[in-house]
């Protein structure tokens, strides 16, 4: 930890990541995944999954 500046954090893959506004690599990764992300949200797949997991009529869409 000592060799990293404040704001860095260790990801689940063990790598160290800089603050998000300095994360050029992460931005590229995010852009690569945009089509899948948009599809997950636009298609309703995510809604169905959340509905199934939550399973609460008071929180149902």
């Amino acid at each position: 930890v000592s060799d990293r500046a404040a704001g860095w954090r260790q990801g689940p893959d063990g790598q160290w990541y800089p603050p998000i506004n300095e994360r050029n690599e992460s931005a590229r990764v995010k852009q690569d995944g945009l089509a899948e992300l948009a599809e997950l949200v636009n298609s309703g797949v995510l809604t169905t999954e959340i509905d199934e997991v939550v399973a609460d009529p008071e929180l149902a869409v």
Binding site: R9, G11, P12, Y17, I20, N21, E22, R23, N24, S26, A27, R28, V29, K30, Q31, G33, L34, A35, E36, L37, A38, L40, V41, N42, S43, G44, V45, L46, T47, T48, E49, I50, V53, V54, D56, P57, E58, L59, A60, V61
Partner: protein
């Protein structure tokens, strides 16, 4: 994102998925939308409940989180304690009277009642992801005369894109 034009200065109440994308800094707002997005406690609870479920380790929600380059614990932290510059969760207590009335008089569920009451309280419009644009919440919002519409997520400029790019 794209959708009906929103008058300048009008606040926007969003659903769980748009709230999540905002807290993950994956959402670029349509031109003209000013101010921080707002969501309700019920939408926040729905999303948090899904995130704490073990099932999300293999599901679509986990893939969304992974696209932000963070893990589930970090996503939970962002959703439960959102950066006020990215998302506001409206205090439900001042809404209780209208929420109660909607539940009793219109048989609205908690999610719909809070959404409508928040929109009325703030003079806001409601924008949701496509998947949440049909069903009970929409029906109740339309009955209540709330401006309710989906924000379709496109790609590239004006759509779903990291704010840091």
């Amino acid at each position: 994102v794209s959708g009906p034009v929103i008058e300048p200065g009008v606040r926007v109440v969003v659903d769980d998925q748009l709230a999540l994308l905002s807290t993950l800094e994956l959402l670029v707002l349509p031109e003209g939308v000013r101010g921080t997005l707002v969501t309700t406690y019920a939408w926040q609870l729905r999303l948090t409940q899904a995130l704490v479920s073990g099932r999300t380790t293999e599901g679509s929600l986990q893939r969304v989180v992974a696209q932000a380059g963070i893990d589930r614990a970090e996503a939970l932290a962002r959703v439960t304690r959102p950066d006020p510059a990215l998302l506001e969760v409206i205090d439900p207590r001042p809404l209780v009277w209208e929420v109660a009335a909607l539940r009793v008089e219109r048989r609205a569920n908690q999610l719909a009642a809070e959404t409508i009451a928040a929109a009325h309280q703030l003079g806001a419009v409601v924008r949701v992801s496509d998947g949440n644009a049909r069903g009970h919440v929409r029906e109740q919002a339309e009955l209540a005369g709330v401006d309710f519409a989906p924000w379709n997520l496109g790609e590239g400029p004006g759509g779903l894109t990291p704010v840091s790019s």
